[in-house]
Symmetry: C2
Subunit: 406 residues, 2 copies
C-alpha cells in the first residue's frame, strides 16, 4: 500500500473537470466528477442543524438512491439559509447535469461552499455544468483543476491517492478536499470527495466512510465552527475488478486502511492550511483510559485559542495546554501528566507529573518554530490514544475572517 | 437602587491597598482587601479540573471557615500547576497577612492571576503583604489602586458599586474584577471581589452569589478558554445594620438585584475589555422554550471565532450567527429565526424566518461599527430569553497571546 500522485481521477473510470464559471470574481469556481459506470455512494454530513440545501439533497441521494454517478460542486456561494429556492436550485443543477450525462437527477450529488445566505446564481451554475461536460477527462491535470475549483480561502489544493492490492487486483483510492475555515469536529470537513475503483457494496462503503471520517476529518479543527455545508462523499465504481467487498474481513480492513491514508492526508492538509495558519499543530494524547477520553482531551487542546496563539508565537506556554485539557470535560489527574513538544527540531519533555521539568526555553522555541509541531500528553491511565490536528491562530486568520465577504 | 462610584471600598468598613511589589516588570501587582470586622464569605470557582493552588485554598476557606476578613491578590504569576510548593506558598501568604492583622490564617483568602506553571516569588509576596497593611485605606483611591493591581492584559480597571435601602438602612455592594483573556463560561471571571456591608447569613450569601454568577460572569466569553484560576469572592460584614437576611424573601431579592447590577457591570466591562477587543458584543436570544436553551444558543454565538472576526470587520455576516446557533446542540427551527442587529446607530432586521430580508448592507455596517453591538435572535418557540456578552476577535488578541510570557 503506497501513496501515489493524483486525486479524484486516480482511480479507474473517473473523469473530472474544473472551470471558472463566473460565480466568484476571478478564481475557478466549479468542479465536476463523473464515473463512466454507475457507482455506489456513501457520505457523512454536517451535524449542524442548520444544513445547507446541497447537504439535504445529498443526504437524500446517499440514503435513497441505489447508485450515483456524478458530483457537481461550486465555490463562492454556500447555498445555505436559502429556503425553498435553495432546494430548487440543487434540483436544477442536478437535472442539468443528468440530462447531459443521460443519468437520473437523483444520481447526481451537489456540493457548495462559500458565503451563507445568498442564492446560487443558477443561470451561471447551469451554464457551468454545460461547459464542464465536454471537458471531463481522466488526466491528472483534470483532477488538479477540479481540486483548485473548490478552494475558497485555501492556499494550496488538497489531493491524495493510494494504490494497493486486493485479491491480485490493483485498487486505487483518491480524493480531493477543501478547507480552510469554519472547520471543527462533528463532520468537520467543508468538502471532501473520494473516488475508488474498488468493488464494494453500498453498505460496506458507508461503514468504511463513517469509520474513517471519525478518525480523520472529525479529528481536525481550525476554528471551532462547524459549518452548515460539511460534506464528505465517496464513490466506488468497481472497475478494479476485485471480488466485491460485502462484509467485514481482511479485504474490508485493507480497504479501510487505504481510505484512512487518503482521508488522513487530506485532513492534515486542511488543518495545516487552516485560514491564516503558519503551522500544522498535532496533539497526541496517550496513556488514556479510553479512546473517547483521548479524543475529548486532544480536541480540546487543538481548539484552544490561547494555545493556538502561543503556537503562532513559538511560545512553550504549556500551562495553556494543561488548562485546555482541564476544561475539556474529561477526567484525569493533572498532577500525573507528562507533556512533550516534538518536531523536526527535536523532542523535549516540558512537564513531568504536572510540574515544569525546568526545560530549555531556547530549545522549546526552536522545536515550536517548525512548520509541523506536535504536543504529546501522557496521562498515565491506560493504553488508549488519539491524535487531533489543528493549526496556529494568526493575524491572518482574523484578517481573512474580518472581511471575508468583501 | 442606583449605581454609584467606587469599588471594593464603597461599602462601610472595607479598606484596601494596591502596590507594585516587584512580581511584574513595571506594573502594580499586589492588592489587599480587609474588613474592619469579621465577614461571612461566599465564592464560586473555576470548573476546570486543573485548579490553581489559590483556588483550592479559597475553596477550603469558603467551605470550612465560619468567617473571613481579608483577601490578598497578586498578578503576574498564577500559582497554577505548581504542586505542593504552590499550596505551601498560599499558606505562607495567608499566614503573613493573618499575623499582621491579628486574625486566623484560615480567614485570609488569596488569589493569583498570570502565567501558569511558575512558582510565586514568595519573598516578594510576603514583603508585599507587609508593605500593604499600613497602606490599607477606605478611600476611593485605595479601591482604585487595588483594582489596578490585579490587571494583567486588561486595559481599563474594572469597578462597580450600587447603593440601595433595606429596612430603612443604606446598603452598599461594590466590587472589582479583572479580565481579560482565558475567559469563558463555567465560572468565567478570572478574578472578581465584591464587598458589601449588608447583614446576611453565610448560607444566603452563597445562594445569592451562585445565582448571580450564573447570570453574569458565566454569560461572558472572551476566548473559550476556562482558566485554572477563576475566582469570584464576596465578603459581607453586616455594618449597614439591616436585619440579617437569613431566608429568601423581599430583602434577599433586593440584595440579589443589587448584586446582579454590580456583577453585570463588572462582567460587561470584562467582555468589552477582552484581550485586543474593539467592541462589546452582546447576544440576546429571545422567544426560547427554556432559559437553558437560550443560554446555550447565546453562548455558542459569542464564542464563535468566525462571528467574532466578522464583528471586528463590521461585516453583517449573519450566516455565521445562524451557523453557530446550529452547532450549539440546542434544538430550534432555523427556518423560523428572525435576527436583528442593534447599536447606538439603530436597529435592523437582518433575517426573517431564516432568510435574508434584503437589508441595507450600508446601514448594517454602520450599526456594527459602534463600540457596543447587539445581535438579537428570536427563535419563536416560547417566552424564555438569555443575554451573553463577548467581544470581537482582533489582530491584537493574537498579538497579545502569541507572546504573553515575554
Amino acid at each position: 500500500m503506497q501513496m501515489t500522485e493524483g486525486g479524484v481521477t486516480a482511480a479507474k473510470g473517473f473523469v473530472a473537470a474544473g472551470i471558472y464559471a463566473g460565480i466568484k470574481k476571478d478564481k475557478k469556481d466549479m468542479a465536476m466528477i463523473y464515473s463512466k459506470v454507475p457507482c455506489v455512494a456513501a457520505g457523512t454530513f454536517t451535524t449542524n442543524i442548520v444544513k445547507a440545501a446541497p447537504v439535504k439533497w445529498d443526504q437524500d441521494v446517499v440514503y435513497h438512491s441505489e447508485k450515483a454517478q456524478a458530483v457537481v460542486a461550486n465555490s463562492g456561494v454556500a447555498n445555505a439559509c436559502t429556503g425553498e429556492e435553495g432546494m430548487r436550485y440543487c434540483r436544477e443543477t442536478a437535472r442539468t447535469a443528468a440530462e447531459l450525462l443521460n443519468i437520473s437527477e437523483k444520481e447526481v450529488l451537489v456540493a457548495s461552499t462559500g458565503v451563507i445566505g445568498r442564492q446560487l446564481p443558477i443561470d451561471i451554475i447551469k451554464e457551468g455544468v454545460v461547459s464542464m461536460v465536454p471537458l471531463l477527462s481522466e488526466s491528472k491535470e483534470a483532477g488538479i483543476l477540479a481540486a483548485e475549483s473548490i478552494m475558497t480561502t485555501d492556499t494550496i489544493r488538497k489531493e491524495a491517492a493510494v494504490t494497493f492490492e486486493l485479491g491480485g487486483r490493483t485498487v486505487t483510492v483518491g480524493g480531493m478536499s477543501k478547507g480552510s475555515g469554519m472547520i471543527h469536529p462533528n463532520m468537520c470537513t467543508m468538502l471532501s470527495f473520494v473516488t475508488t475503483d474498488a468493488a464494494i457494496s453500498k453498505e460496506m462503503l458507508q461503514k468504511a466512510q463513517s469509520a474513517s471520517v471519525k478518525d480523520t476529518y472529525n479529528m481536525i479543527s481550525v476554528d471551532g465552527d462547524t459549518s452548515t455545508n460539511d460534506t464528505a462523499l465517496i464513490l466506488a465504481n468497481g472497475l478494479a475488478g476485485n471480488d466485491e467487498i460485502t462484509e467485514e474481513g481482511e479485504d474490508f480492513d485493507t480497504f479501510l486502511k487505504a481510505l484512512n491514508m487518503v482521508n488522513t492526508a487530506l485532513a492534515k492538509k486542511m488543518a495545516g492550511d487552516g485560514e491564516g495558519a503558519t503551522a500544522l499543530f498535532e496533539v497526541k494524547v496517550i496513556g488514556a483510559e479510553s479512546k473517547e477520553q483521548a479524543v475529548t482531551l486532544s480536541k480540546s487542546v487543538i481548539t484552544s485559542n490561547l494555545t493556538k496563539a502561543a503556537i503562532f508565537g513559538h511560545d512553550a506556554n504549556w500551562g495553556r495546554i494543561l488548562c485546555a485539557m482541564g476544561y475539556s470535560g474529561a477526567e484525569f489527574d493533572p498532577e500525573k501528566v507528562d507533556l512533550y513538544f516534538e518536531s523536526a527540531a527535536g523532542k523535549l519533555k516540558i512537564i513531568e507529573n504536572g510540574v515544569s521539568t525546568g526545560y530549555s526555553e531556547e530549545l522549546a522555541t526552536k522545536i515550536l518554530s517548525e512548520k509541523e509541531v506536535t504536543a504529546i500528553a501522557d496521562i498515565k491511565m491506560g493504553d488508549a490514544c488519539a491524535t487531533a490536528w489543528g493549526c496556529d491562530l494568526t493575524f491572518d486568520y482574523v484578517k481573512i475572517n474580518a472581511d471575508y465577504r468583501s
